[in-house]
Amino acid sequence: MSDVIISFAKVNKWFGQFHVLRDIDLDVARGERIVICGPSGSGKSTLIRCINRLEEHQEGHLSVDGVELTDDVKAIEKVRREVGMVFQQFNLFPHLTVLENLTLAPTWVGKMPKKEAEERAMAQLERVRIAEQARKYPLQLSGGQQQRVAIARSLCLTPKIMLFDEPTSALDPEMIKEVLDVMIDLAGQGITMLCVTHEMGFARSVADRVIFMDQGQIIEQNSPTEFFANPRSDRTRDFLSKILSH
């Protein structure tokens, strides 16, 4: 059962005159785990942000779990309920406790009773191994802990798809592993994942497919073994030599 959950068909996007996504064609299978890499400014973030309509595309068709993304607000709301997103800067709500950060969407978007939302939130916090911090405020936690809270928060509405935009880039080296461990756990549970990252170890161990982007285009995509062993284009080789050299 490898039906398609996300489908880009000739998607184009501009920022003003700047052509940031060019003829993107991409089908993501249900449960697939994809890692996206590429040089800075190549449009990786923009690509995944189109999936939950944080950015809108101007040409082509993009549908998520059978819903086409247009200006239709209902469609956007429906898609956002099924897509969780984790940001580089965590973007936790600083005025709410960890627990309140997690229960906000379930109670308001999911109309869940408060008690049930809290139980679910605690379960998610257990899952990212941070339950003992539930009553603290985000700024009282370390970066790694905050990112794990952010992951737990986006899981509370039980999304079918998880988007990660460089989730470990803002973290100190000793905290990267705790976040990657949580993501590896998640990858083992059959959720569809798209992850922009330069953690090639993570790509090797969990990705079904690695996508390389440059200048708004998908240059190359392959299984991680093939991708790292036999990069086909010069630009990919060039990029890999830069990030794998240190």
Partner: protein, 369 residues
């Protein structure tokens, strides 16, 4: 062995050094640190030494406290005549409200101040608070207007003094605050018509003095109404004050909205919150907290600006002081003491707001870190 040498033993925690206590060292550090500091201190002391005895003599020692007109006149302004307050305080505090019925504004005012104090506590901020205010204003109006169960009818044009000042301030700010939030949000809307309207509103109102707004509200509204129907003067003034305060508050709040990082909006969107849910739960709690000092600044201005309603013949605290003194040739000359008295009342109000603002800011900031 080499490894043991390379590793420094951990340094155990020590208690902090004792603070240099004692008032003498405090004085030296704060008042006489260098010659400039010392000079400033001495100057301030000199001014105090020069003025304080006079102030004490004028205001306390030689002052007349009894409502004794002859004694007051005999002072020839060499000392304060507090007798004018003792004689006229009910007129100053309650304006033209019928003398025998003045317990009604008193009760209304006490209820209002009580609820105001309760509303200051964050733990009371729930959905019942607005309900309580609606009930309070209803009771206040019913009690003041009367016209039932033996209470005589008192038209709004006769309401005055401190209760009127408090009513106009709380009701005006209570209505202006939610309105200003909508305007501030509207100024950032992506709908061009909404944005243009909100910008136009703020720029228009901020460009006109309150006194003209009140004047227009009072004399222009009736022109647009069907003949024979004039909206109540109190209502007109209330609308004027609300519209005016809302424009300033909206600008203060917009400052807070602008300081919210883009990531907060994106996180709210990605969680599927609707626009209003995101504003209410994520954006506004953070934005309002950031601009508490400017909001309180607007509140304080509005509280004092209510004194301008005298130009449309409503006698608030300031107006009723004039009312109390102008008509009485015996006491008219002691207006200075009268102004000190109402100045003190305004100051208590403003100073409380200022202290509250500092307290609530600290209190809410403690929540987030």
């Amino acid at each position: 062995m080499a490894a043991a040498n390379a590793m420094r033993s951990l340094i155990a925690a020590r208690p902090a050094p004792p603070r240099t206590a004692g008032s003498l060292s405090w004085l030296r550090r704060n008042l006489f640190a260098d010659w400039k500091n010392t000079l400033a201190t001495l100057l301030v002391v000199a001014v105090l030494v020069d003025w304080l005895p006079f102030v004490i003599e004028w205001g306390i020692v030689d002052a007349v406290l009894r409502p004794d007109n002859a004694a007051c006149r005999a002072l020839e302004h060499a000392a304060a005549c507090w007798g004018v307050i003792a004689e006229k305080y009910r007129l100053i505090l309650f304006g033209r409200f019928p003398f025998a019925e003045q317990w009604r504004p008193l009760v209304g005012m006490v209820m209002m101040v009580g609820l105001l104090a309760v509303s200051c506590l964050p733990r009371m901020w729930n959905r019942w608070l607005p309900v309580a205010w609606v009930v309070l204003f209803t009771c206040f109006f019913v009690l003041m207007r009367g016209g039932f169960a033996g209470l005589s009818f008192v038209e709004t044009a006769q309401w005055g003094g401190l209760p009127l000042t408090l009513l106009l301030s709380t009701l005006g700010l209570g209505a202006a605050f939610p309105l200003s939030i909508l305007i501030a949000l509207g100024r950032r809307s992506h709908l061009p018509a909404v944005r243009a309207f909100c910008i136009g509103y703020v720029e228009l109102i901020r460009g006109i003095p309150l006194i003209s707004v009140l004047f227009m509200a009072s004399f222009m509204f009736p022109l647009f109404m069907p003949p024979g129907k004039t909206p109540d003067v109190l209502l007109r003034v209330f609308v004027g004050i609300t519209l005016f305060a809302a424009a300033y508050l909206a600008e203060a709040i917009r400052g807070g909205l602008q300081a919210i990082p883009k990531g907060q909006f994106e996180a709210a969107d990605s969680l599927g919150l609707t626009y209003w849910q995101a504003q209410r739960k994520v954006v506004l709690p953070q934005a309002l907290r950031m601009v508490i000092p400017s909001i309180m600044n607007s509140f304080i201005s509005t509280f004092k600006d209510t004194s301008l309603v005298t130009i449309v013949s409503l006698y608030d605290l300031t107006g009723s002081l004039g009312l109390a003194l102008n008509g009485d040739a015996n006491w008219r000359q002691f207006y200075f003491e009268g102004y000190l008295f109402i100045g003190l009342i305004y100051w208590i109000g403003c100073f409380s707001m200022s202290r509250y603002s500092q307290w609530i800011e600290r209190r809410l900031a403690a929540d987030a870190v």
